[in-house]
């Protein structure tokens, strides 16, 4: 069996059809879109079409509401920094404890600059409390930034409802929809969302291309000033090949969105059911009833995630983990901590994220190797004894921590 890729929330394979539409922009239509000669005369048309393809996928009213950026992080930074620059008197920001670092690190930085950051907590299933959210909305708040769907658990937040509440309170609303776009249908023109970030490489477009949706009429200050590109809202020569590729990827995503919510979901469900039935002492994290169709995050108790990933990798299976040791820092996943997942389980979380390129045969292959991997590692674990956890694990093994 060839290698199995189940890490699509990290990044995706570029669709060959996307590569095909990009090639001419490297080899033929490589002119600067601002130039007036035949090497550039098709580029503007390509960009226009891409803008419309993105527009169709997210359901916004005008194609001029689409600003191409270099990535999701740039879109997020642009949105938040624009809101605070445009409203210098407002010194508060509302967000959640489970946002992507692209939001959280920026907020940490703004906090040092004197901003008050409200990081809303989540419950054990990763859900927000809308009543406490309402209480936070005030004239002091420059912007609310809440992710559409969580990258680790796939849990979906009620952003349309939250945007309406913010709008009623006169507060700008931004959503980091990097994980949601292309996986769940959206119609932005029917919502009060002012800004939305998306990233190409999460939906089979290349890395290095993103979008900031900016509702017409929303007060805005560019992050990058310079040329007239993107109507002066994001200066810098257009990444034309990637923009055209992203357009194609959005067209395909719209075509496959039903497939994503039926066939892809069925693969995810089968893997999840298989694992939780076969393997004792593991559980699904996040809101099982309100999730992205492609994501499952499973906590395997008493073992550690990086070890699981290394054994999976040896078996030709790619996934990812919320364990401390895989993050490059040494902090355990902030999402797992926010959900109050016990420590002996939080370190053993594995995220499997699917795409339309996966198959049921791959699911069966993972189901074949997973029980053995977990059993192997549990044999090494001080919390495990024979066929089950030791009695009262926290007391039976209580190391001195240094």
């Amino acid at each position: 069996m060839t290698d199995i890729y189940l890490d699509n929330n990290a990044t995706t394979k570029v669709d060959p059809a996307v590569v095909d539409v990009m090639i001419p922009y490297f080899l033929e239509q490589y002119g600067n879109p601002s130039s007036i000669h035949k090497f550039a005369d098709g580029v503007a048309r390509g960009l226009k079409q891409a803008r419309q393809q993105v527009q169709a996928l997210i359901g916004c009213e005008h194609d001029s509401e689409i600003i191409f950026t270099s990535c999701g992080t740039e879109s997020n930074s642009t949105a938040i920094l624009s809101a605070i620059k445009a409203q210098p008197n407002k010194k508060e920001i509302i967000t959640t404890m489970v946002e992507h670092p692209a939001i959280l690190s920026l907020c940490d930085y703004l906090e040092k600059e004197g901003y008050t950051i409200h990081r809303m907590p989540v419950d054990k299933a990763g859900r927000l409390n809308l009543e406490s959210y309402k209480k936070l909305l005030s004239d002091e708040v420059a912007i609310v930034s809440v992710m559409w769907a969580n990258n680790e658990t796939g849990t979906i937040f009620p952003v349309a409802e939250m945007a309406a509440l913010a709008n009623a309170a006169g507060v700008m609303f931004h959503t980091d929809a990097v994980q949601a776009v292309g996986k769940i249908p959206m119609m932005l023109q029917d919502t009060k969302i002012d800004m939305l970030s998306l990233s190409g490489h999460k939906l089979h477009a290349p890395k290095g291309i993103g979008v900031l949706y900016l509702r017409r009429g929303t007060r805005y200050r560019p992050l990058l000033r310079g040329g007239h590109q993107e109507r002066g809202r994001r200066a810098g020569t257009e990444n034309s090949a990637s923009i055209v590729g992203l357009g194609k990827a959005c067209e395909l995503a719209l075509e496959y969105i039903e497939y994503e919510n039926t066939k892809v979901k069925a693969m995810r469900d089968r893997l999840e059911r298989g694992i939780t039935e076969e393997i004792p002492h593991c559980f699904v994290t996040g809101d099982m009833y309100n999730r992205l169709p492609n994501t499952t995050d499973i906590a395997f108790e008493y073992i550690e995630g990086e070890s699981i990933l290394m054994l999976l990798n040896k078996a030709g299976i790619a996934a990812s983990s919320g364990s401390a040791c895989t993050s490059g820092s040494l902090e355990p996943s902030h999402v797992m901590r926010a959900m109050d997942i016990p420590y002996t389980a939080a370190h053993g979380t594995i995220r499997f994220s699917f795409s339309r390129y996966n198959s049921m045969a791959e699911v069966d292959e993972v189901l074949k190797v997973m029980p053995g991997i977990v059993a192997t590692l549990r044999k090494l674990s001080p919390y495990w004894d024979g066929n089950g956890p030791v009695a009262d694990p926290e007391k039976a093994f209580a190391p001195t921590y240094a």
């Binding site: 990086e306 040896k314 355990p332 001080p382 001195t400 240094a402």
Partner: protein, 302 residues
């Protein structure tokens, strides 16, 4: 993912001495707060000879934690307790052909479990003597706690000070923002304000330059003293230094462990030379001992 050596992978995929030793008479249980890893080491010690007959580990942790535990049990089997106490975390990392800087704490955990187990056998209580913080400088594996302590203890005020005292920030320089944040925090606690342009504080271990020229013996003693003071920092990032010979004002040193062949070795030698000159108040040239053979040959010919 981490760039693990083949040795780490070998010990992870085929761990040695996994599981608890039956009728063990020594147990050490330690964990690392920075990553949540934990290890139980069980030993069977011969009561007469104090030789470790068997060693077994149970580890809750990542690939390098399991590999460190496995290699530790291999190292200590057959050793007496006194010999085993001399095993350092560096020995563990060396046996694994090196660990990424973020993962050195796995080898520290191994050494601590060993100390705890031996203390347990001897009826003593083992106490941990260090605290670990978030890793700040990845080039030299220096964490936040160490930097904070040095800032407090030596009244450091600038990034340059921190680099002089801890080496942190002396490599790729990308952690300077984090070091400034630590300085801001500590200085605020002391009621001072961080000023990036503040004059550097006195260099560490600096003594007034000797007025009379040093004798060769004094020079060698002094050089040894300075090298000794630098060793903890080198050990922390997996290396070591040893003085081989002093000829005139040239000191020949052996860089061992992770320093040997490391791309930072040249920079480290430069740093050692700098420190020697500051302390001794005279020009000292530090040269890798490998260069010495050339010199000897030249002398032999002439």
């Amino acid at each position: 993912m981490w760039d693990y050596s083949d040795k780490v992978k070998e010990h992870f995929f085929n761990p040695k001495n996994a599981g608890a030793v039956i009728d063990a008479n020594a147990t050490g249980e330690v964990g690392s707060i920075s990553c949540g890893d934990a290890l139980r080491l069980t030993l069977k010690v011969d009561d007469d000879s104090e030789v470790i007959l068997e060693a077994g580990f149970q580890t809750f942790g990542c690939g390098s934690a399991i590999a460190s535990s496995s290699v530790l049990t291999e190292i200590i089997k057959g050793m007496t307790l006194d010999e085993a106490l001399k095993v350092t975390n560096q020995d563990i990392a060396d046996q694994l052909e090196g660990l990424p800087p973020e993962k050195m704490h796995c080898s520290v955990m191994g050494r601590e479990a060993l100390q705890a187990a031996i203390a347990n056998y001897r009826g003593e209580e083992w106490k941990d003597d260090h605290e670990e913080g978030a890793l700040i400088c990845k080039c030299f594996a220096i964490d936040a706690v160490m930097i904070e302590e040095m800032v407090w203890a030596n009244k450091l005020r600038t990034v340059e000070d921190v680099t002089n005292f801890t080496k942190a920030g002396g490599g790729c320089a990308s952690c300077h923002e984090d070091i400034e944040a630590i300085l801001e925090k500590v200085l605020a606690e002391k009621g001072e304000k961080f000023d990036p342009n503040a004059a550097p504080v006195a260099q560490p271990a600096k003594v007034t330059a000797a007025k009379a020229p040093l004798t060769n013996l004094q020079r060698i003693k002094k050089i040894e003293e300075v090298l000794e003071s630098l060793r903890p920092a080198l050990l922390a990032d997996g290396g070591d230094v040893e003085l081989v010979e002093v000829i005139g004002n040239t000191a020949y040193v052996n860089m061992t462990g992770a320093c040997n062949g490391c791309q930072m070795a040249a920079m480290t030698i430069g740093g050692i030379q700098q420190r020697l000159m500051e302390v001794m108040g005279e020009f000292i040239k530090v040269v890798p001992a490998s260069e010495m053979s050339k010199l000897v040959n030249i002398e032999a010919v002439s």
